[in-house]
């Protein structure tokens, strides 16, 4: 059996890893960040423990609460269910990288205005999913918002305000585009 053909294209160039920690470089929020990681390291562990990017949370560590949501090449993903090694040469965006040059994403602004958070622990993940929805579909409906966060758990029960905030951000973003 040929090992090489089982790898996705381009994988050969990425090299192989031993079980021991080795330097790993990932493209995070537009910067190449390098730290030691072993092959079992999840993306969220790499972000939090190796890089100190603690905005991304772990609520369940099994892909059930979505507190760990980040973007991989612009798509939402559970970083607790993603191995750090598997996202080499991918473009990772975390909550720390969502606002650019001090300007909040419209969803972040709307979360503040509509008080779409309480304890705030689920908030970074919620913001990442809602921001991705608004970017992808500024014409989103209430039903779309519910779908976008259907995998997220907010124990404080902020859902009604998250719905309002996301729809408001979508409206603001539509307005911004027609200007």
């Amino acid at each position: 059996m040929s090992v090489a053909t089982q790898h996705p294209p381009g994988r050969e160039q990425l090299g192989t890893f031993s079980p021991e920690p080795q330097p790993l470089s990932l493209l995070i929020n537009g910067e190449v960040r390098t730290a030691l990681a072993d092959p079992a390291t999840t993306l969220v562990e790499f972000l939090r423990d190796a890089l100190g990017l603690t905005g991304t949370k772990i609520g369940c560590d099994r892909g059930a609460c979505s507190a760990c949501t980040v973007w991989i090449d612009g798509e939402v993903a559970a970083s607790c269910m993603t191995l750090a090694l598997d996202v080499r040469e991918r473009n990772i965006t975390t909550i720390e990288g969502l606002s650019r040059a001090g300007e909040l994403h419209p969803v972040q602004q709307a979360f503040i205005e509509h008080d779409a958070l309480q304890c705030g622990f689920c908030t970074p993940g919620m913001v990442m999913s809602c921001a991705q929805l608004v970017n992808r579909n500024p014409d989103c409906t209430l039903d779309d918002v519910k779908t976008a966060i259907s995998g997220h758990l907010c124990r404080c029960g902020t859902y009604p305000n998250i719905f309002k905030a996301t729809l408001a951000a979508a409206a603001a973003s539509r307005k911004g585009k027609t200007k």
């Binding site: 079992a40 939090r48 423990d49 100190g52 990017l53 603690t54 905005g55 991304t56 949370k57 772990i58 609520g59 369940c60 560590d61 099994r62 059930a64 609460c65 507190a67 975390t94 909550i95 720390e96 969502l98 606002s99 909040l104 972040q108 979360f111 503040i112 205005e113 008080d115 958070l117 309480q118 304890c119 705030g120 622990f121 689920c122 908030t123 970074p124 913001v127 918002v145 519910k146 779908t147 966060i149 259907s150 995998g151 997220h152 758990l153 907010c154 124990r155 404080c156 029960g157 902020t158 859902y159 009604p160 305000n161 998250i162 719905f163």
Partner: protein, 791 residues
């Protein structure tokens, strides 16, 4: 306090826009003058955005979970794999030599659980008896979480099993294995807990407690025209905060620093002081942000005790954060209950007898009561209460949003609904008839029923079971009641620097309720500033003492102290600035960033400029929370309980699929009071959260244990079902402004009242939809189909 410490004042009291009248109160001397209604205030009563929202939406907010210190070690806990056993031996020697391991500690004593009155043979046990699967035994600190986990595998525990019982129905049998071999007590620690002392105990039944009983119950039933009986069951609910319990302990010879995910930094400090026999001054507890608590996060707990021991042994900071399974199993839950409730009433609805025979199952902990509602909400001359705690080999209970009351109201408000149905009285008219104590919550609920009925379209309510097809819709309502609590020992400090910087300090914490924001608003109001001009400091045990974020008591305790300190600072500034403005100090007011003479906006100086020109360097003012102007009905420790309670009325519309047993809550209306709302937007958020959690409790949540092993079968988020976006109903909130004339801000809490009535409102809507009572929570298809089949 002597009589001359008080003065009589005439103050407005009542519901703003409804019925405000002047009342006479004995007010402690020096209290600031009463505020007018919110509409006339500058900052208080306004929807000021949450002050820490920016930090939360950008990921900058630092939770205990995020604390990373140099040389910090990661700890993991070894938990029992059996439900009941003597530990014969524990061998940690291999774990200690495992790569990366820096310390191992075996727990000597367990917090949170009941203890034998007479330890007897257990006194000579080398280790605590294991009484539930998942009970913490030991912990390892290592250079990585993975190294700690690997070392746990190397610890050998030799168990000698003891027969166990996990199910309530089995535990109440006289033949059941006892969870404790003799009578127990559960003393409160600085971390909370505690149950009534000295109660009898037989097998696993501890009780009865009979508080609230009065009159002659038999006579009450004889006088009744109708008697309604029901057997209500509620499930075990786990708190499931999204941030698990966690502590980073940093033991140094000179000081112990504890970063804690907690509802009360002071309780973390005090419990650590008790356990480690340290002076409180040598301990500092810090909590910048806490990712949810809901009642279970007090003190250092067993996990925190382990973390502190490990930090001392390793000479390095140790982080111990529970994993999701541990969070479900070992740090608290809402007890399950069985409530046999019998109510007698006369034809006109007036109550003649309330008899409650109840059981609550808090696992290995006592204190599983069903609240005070049955005997205190509605006047009734004959009341008989008998409550038993039932021990099982399961994780200990802890306070959970509306502890006892949420379970109790589920039964009581359905029973009242049932009485109304039997008598052919409208459920709202029934409450109008019986909800008649002389108290603020009663007056509030009267207004709330009226407003709610109008807004919800109550007049469209049809006869029970009106829909002909298999899908049935209905509406219902239920009432809330929660004590209005004021915490003793609440002090605020205001520091004003010569450049106009204002800092406000209190050793309370903001766990997501908006404490920082309301604190700033109250201070800003007195100083004529914007809320964002006030830098608020909470979450540090070095600050002046502050209340726990539990019992809906922070806003009621904190804001009067904050206002009084800010008021004293303002009067101090006025006296120093008066000569500059050539106006009497008592005519100077603070408004929109200026200090000016009342009615003369030309005689004015900017706040910072006035301080500079008056040569002020730093002003510091401290004030305590004074007692309520009408005093308290009773005091329990640091809790002062007002004769007035907090009300609330909730309405629900449900849809029941009678073929599948699926229940959907389509719409909720929550009408609430919380004294003076300091920030209506944040109050609304609290109420939304209370309702969402209430829907989740009513429909889904249910901790399930395997009876053979005591293992929780759904100790995770995917199988322990909690309301998500798809199940969130449309929720409308309406808030009334109630001025109680009790304190300098008249604010009260709302977190718990917002939660306690929800399940009952849904259950009453279920009855209206189907014509059948749902006596068992949660309303899963199995429980619903059983209810629909019942005669």
């Amino acid at each position: 306090m002597s009589a001359d410490a008080f003065e009589q004042r005439s103050l407005p009291a009542g519901i703003v826009g409804d019925a405000v009248k002047q009342v006479t109160r004995n007010v402690p001397r020096g209290e600031p003058p009463a505020w007018p209604a919110n509409a006339e205030l500058q900052v208080v009563g306004k929807d000021v955005p949450r002050m820490d929202a920016l930090d939360k939406v950008t990921g900058r907010a630092r939770y205990t979970f995020d604390v990373q210190l140099p040389r910090m070690l990661y700890a993991r806990t070894l938990n029992s794999t059996v439900p009941h056993a003597r530990i014969k031996s524990i061998d940690t020697s291999r774990a200690e030599k495992s790569p990366g391991v820096r310390a191992v500690h075996v727990l000597e004593r367990l917090l949170m659980i009941a203890e034998l009155r007479d330890p007897g043979d257990e006194a000579s046990e080398p280790y605590p008896i294991v009484r539930f699967t998942g009970q913490p035994i030991a912990a390892v600190a290592a250079t990585s979480a993975r190294a700690a986990e690997a070392a746990l595998e190397l610890i050998r525990v030799e168990y000698e099993p003891i027969p166990h019982v996990t199910e309530f129905e089995d535990a109440i049998q006289s033949s059941s294995p006892p969870v404790f071999p003799g009578p127990t007590e559960q003393r409160a620690t600085a971390g909370g807990g505690g149950a009534a002392q000295g109660l009898p105990q037989k097998g696993n039944l501890r009780g009865p407690s009979t508080g609230g009983s009065r009159g002659e119950i038999e006579r009450g039933f004889k006088e009744a025209d109708v008697v309604v009986e029901g057997e209500y069951r509620t499930q075990v609910q786990t708190h499931t905060p999204l941030e698990p319990h966690g502590i980073v302990a940093d033991w140094r010879d000179e000081e112990l620093t504890i970063y804690a995910s907690t509802q009360h930094v002071m309780s973390v400090r005090d419990e650590a002081a008790e356990i480690f026999k340290l002076p409180k001054e040598k301990i500092r507890a810090i909590s910048d942000y806490t990712g949810g608590g809901f009642g279970a996060k007090y003190g250092v707990g067993n996990y925190g005790t382990l973390a502190i021991h490990l930090s001392r042994k390793a000479g390095a900071p140790v982080r111990l954060v529970l994993d999701r399974r541990e969070e479900h199993v070992s740090v608290g839950n809402r007890p399950s209950t069985l409530q046999r409730l019998k109510i007698g009433a006369k034809r006109d609805g007036s109550l003649t007898a309330i008899e409650l025979h109840s059981f609550g199952t808090g696992g290995v902990a006592a204190g599983a009561g069903v609240g005070m509602c049955h005997h205190s909400m509605y006047p009734c001359p004959n009341v008989s209460i008998e409550h038993y705690d039932v021990f099982t080999n399961a994780g200990p209970c802890a306070a959970f949003r509306g502890p006892g009351q949420t379970q109790g109201i589920f039964a009581l408000e359905q029973a009242i609904d049932a009485v109304a149905a039997r008598l052919g009285i409208d459920p709202i008219a029934m409450r109008d008839k019986i909800d008649t104590r002389d108290a603020d919550d009663v007056r509030a609920r009267a207004a709330e029923r009226r407003i709610g009925a109008e807004k919800f379209g109550w007049s469209r309510r049809r006869a029970p079971g009106s829909d002909a097809g298999p899908i049935k819709r209905g509406i219902g309502m239920a009432q809330s009641m929660w004590p209005y609590i004021v915490n003793s020992y609440t002090t605020c400090e205001i520091r004003i620097a010569g450049d106009g910087t204002v800092d406000a300090f209190c050793g309370t914490q903001d766990i997501g309720t908006g404490t920082r924001t309301v604190f700033a608003q109250v201070v800003a109001e007195e100083l004529g500033l914007r809320a964002e001009d006030v830098r608020v400091h909470v979450g540090d045990s070095r600050f002046p003492p502050g209340p726990p974020s539990g019992g809906s008591r922070v806003t009621s305790s904190l804001t009067p102290a904050a206002r009084n300190a800010a008021h004293a600072a303002a009067r101090d500034i006025a006296s120093r600035v008066a000569p500059l403005l050539k106006a009497p100090a008592d005519e100077l007011i603070f408004k929109k960033g200026h200090i000016e003479r009342r009615g003369d906006s030309k005689t004015s100086l900017g706040f910072a400029e006035a301080l500079r020109r008056a040569g002020i360097e730093t002003l510091v003012h401290r004030a305590d929370r004074r007692d309520d102007y009408e005093g308290y009905a009773r005091k329990a420790g640091e809790l002062n309980i007002s004769p007035h309670a907090i009300g609330g009325v909730q309405f629900a519309e449900v849809c029941v699929d009678t073929q599948t047993g699926a229940v959907k809550v389509e719409r909720m209306l929550a009408v609430h009071d919380c004294g003076r709302p300091i920030n209506p937007k944040l109050v609304e958020s609290q109420i939304l959260g209370g309702v969402v959690q209430g829907v989740s409790y009513a429909l889904y949540e249910d901790r399930r244990l395997d009876a053979a092993t005591g293992v929780q079968l759904n100790a995770n988020i995917d199988q322990y079902k909690i309301v998500g976006s798809r199940e969130t109903p449309q929720i409308e909130v309406h808030l009334i402004e109630l001025i109680g004339a009790q304190s300098s801000t008249d604010a009260r809490g709302v977190a718990e009242p917002a939660n306690v009535a929800t399940a009952a409102a849904i259950a009453n809507a279920f009855f209206n939809a189907t014509g059948k009572r749902i006596y068992t929570l949660p309303m899963t298809p199995a429980n619903v189909l059983a209810a629909l089949r019942a005669e």
